[in-house]
């Protein structure tokens, strides 16, 4: 099953669904043959597409709309906020090549503030699947939920088989006392590798695939905070993404934790093909593991130094 097959199946089973695109057809090349006039391409007009989606939703439709992540979330931001958010219409945003997935396109195409922007809109729900399996497991519930949604589309295949999706719940893959890594989206695969390295080093490692960033699984974050170190890993600006979400949740519950954020701090990433991007920006599994080990070592050294000082 692919994204397009699932969407076709959903739309054929329920004629409230219409599929729209601002001439970004990568995910929906074949769907016109099945849906006919329920496939609407508005051309390179992200704003008009969202406005028209609102009009269709007023008539009882559920529009699943497609555009490149940066233009869907930023060019059309005010339309999403005003025409989907304010009236709480079930417009389903499928965001193509978010985060590092824009690989060689350059900063114009880097949606690395999308989670921050979308979760700031009342009524909006926000999701980031780890891979294709995760994506296909979450979409039916998201599409049938009566609110607007934003999904960071990720159709990359991994070997991992995900647990069934529960709306607003994270997927807790492992619990650990030394360090717990929270991540979402395509970096899941890298974190999976980092976890193996850290475990080989003898650490007890927790691993959480966030899946749903709004509503967020607060309990999963609070549980993670019980380990000695929490690490957030995201292809997003440091501001407004998972690191911010963790801070908000901890503050809300008056909990505290030592948190190491791995994110893009006040910078766009160097454009190249994805494997090179990951390496250059320090987000391969090995680099993530090294940063955590280095941070722990430094923390241990700092503790020793403090003890020596106190003596």
């Amino acid at each position: 099953m692919t994204y397009e097959e699932l969407l076709t199946q959903q739309a054929l089973a329920d004629d409230r669904f219409v599929v729209m695109t601002a001439e970004n057809r990568a995910l929906v090349r074949n769907i016109y043959a099945h849906l006919g006039n329920r496939f609407i391409d508005t051309g390179i007009t992200e704003q008009t597409m969202i406005g028209a989606a609102a009009g269709l939703a007023l008539r009882g439709r559920i529009p699943v709309v497609h555009a490149l992540a940066s233009f869907l979330t930023m060019r059309a931001f005010e339309f999403v906020r005003t025409d989907a958010g304010i009236p709480n219409l079930p417009i389903k945003l499928s965001s193509f090549i978010p985060g590092f997935l824009s690989d060689g396109n350059g900063p114009t195409h880097q949606a690395i503030e999308d989670i921050s922007l979308m979760r700031g809109i009342p009524n909006m729900t926000v999701f980031a699947p780890a891979d294709e399996d995760d994506l296909l497991k979450m979409l039916p519930q998201i599409w049938n939920y009566p609110s607007p949604s934003y999904v960071r589309i990720n159709t990359r295949k991994t070997e991992f088989e995900h647990a069934p999706f529960e709306f607003g719940k994270a997927e807790v893959i492992a619990e650990g006392s030394d360090v717990t890594i929270l991540t979402y989206g395509l970096l899941f695969e890298q974190v999976l590798e980092a976890v193996k390295i850290l475990e080989a080093e003898g650490l007890s490692v927790g691993f959480v695939n966030m899946r749903s960033l709004k509503p967020v699984d607060e309990q999963a974050i609070l549980n993670a905070a019980k380990s000695n170190l929490v690490v957030s890993v995201e292809d997003h600006f440091l501001t407004g993404g998972l690191y911010s979400i963790i801070a908000e949740v901890l503050l809300k519950h008056q909990a505290s934790a030592k948190v190491l954020p791995l994110a893009l701090n006040e910078k766009w990433f160097k454009p190249s093909l994805l494997p090179k991007v990951l390496e250059h920006e320090g987000f391969t599994g090995k680099q993530i593991a090294e940063k955590i080990l280095g941070y722990n070592t430094k923390a241990v050294q700092a503790t020793i130094a403090a003890q020596e000082f106190s003596e």
Partner: protein, 289 residues
């Protein structure tokens, strides 16, 4: 209503239009409202609801009703006044203008039965109207979609983006009506971002265009009776209007965009509306160049 040309009772419409204007004027105090833009759009809004649109108290959620979207938004007092006169809204409710306990404020919102979508951010409702018109087409419906735009609003690129898309999908069930009152917020449109030749601009985007006197009920009736103007083409009506129409003391005045009149001024303006002396306005005005 039938789209066939039938006689309209022009005198009755003019009398009702005066009442709509009275409501608008009464809303322009205790916080005020966008009175100029409301007075320019009053006749065309009244015409559409009373003569042309298939919209009434009993069919507001009927999927076969016609739709009207107020994109420019500032003219919502004209819509409230029309709703009251046509029995769609309790006249007592207008006294709640800007009340924290009601939903009657400077821009349209769907808490008022009969308002199809909120507006206030310019250039949004052309695309929302496209979505509704598209759905009607997909379902093979006969209902019609009207979207009222301000001329200043046409500065927004999304109005023209919408024209491209409406043309591409041959939305001849969609009518854009431009309240061409010649002003944007602070100055005449032609002094800031010139729009003319406006007819040619819309025609170049593939629309079937009519330009009429937006205060002449016969002209409005002739234009809308010709719907659809041309099969397969989006319809555009450029309604030439006067900002502040009906109140000579504020007509075509750049500094009378938003007005918050005193109670004394309101009394005097209501008389002015009925042809008496012009009002000596002392309330605050906008600073314009």
């Amino acid at each position: 209503m039938s789209t066939q040309t039938t006689a309209i009772d022009k005198q009755q419409l003019q009398a009702t239009a005066l009442k709509v204007r009275e409501h608008i004027i009464r809303m322009a105090t205790d916080g005020g409202c966008f009175v100029g833009a409301s007075l320019s759009a009053a006749d065309l809004i009244l015409y559409l609801y009373s003569e042309w649109l298939n919209v009434n108290k009993s069919n507001l959620s009927d999927p076969n009703r016609d739709y009207l979207f107020l994109s420019k938004g500032h003219d919502v007092p004209a819509l409230y006044g029309t709703f009251v006169e046509l029995g769609l809204m309790d006249p007592e409710r207008l006294k709640n203008h800007l009340s924290i306990d009601d939903h009657i404020y400077w821009h349209p919102n769907t808490k008022i039965p009969g308002i199809e979508f909120h507006s206030g951010s310019l250039g949004h409702l052309p695309s929302v109207a496209i979505g509704v018109a598209l759905d009607i087409k997909i379902r093979g419906g006969k209902n019609r979609v009207v979207c009222i735009l301000g001329d200043g609003e046409l500065n927004e690129g999304t109005c023209w983006e919408a024209m491209l898309v409406a043309n591409a999908y041959q939305l001849d069930n969609l009518i854009f009506v431009v309240d061409r009152n010649q002003f944007q917020a602070n100055m005449p449109t032609e002094d800031l971002i010139p729009l003319e030749p406006l007819h040619d601009k819309f025609a170049a985007f593939g629309a079937a265009v009519k330009r009429i006197d937006g205060h002449d009920f016969d002209a409005l009736h002739d234009a809308f009776s010709a719907y659809p103007f041309q099969p397969g083409k989006v319809n555009v009506v450029i309604a030439d209007t006067v900002r502040g129409r009906g109140l000579p003391s504020i007509e075509r005045r750049a500094d009378r965009w938003f007005c918050n009149f005193t109670a004394t001024e309101i009394d005097s303006l209501l008389k002015e509306l009925h042809g008496e002396h012009q009002t000596q306005l002392t309330s605050e005005t906008l600073v314009v160049r």
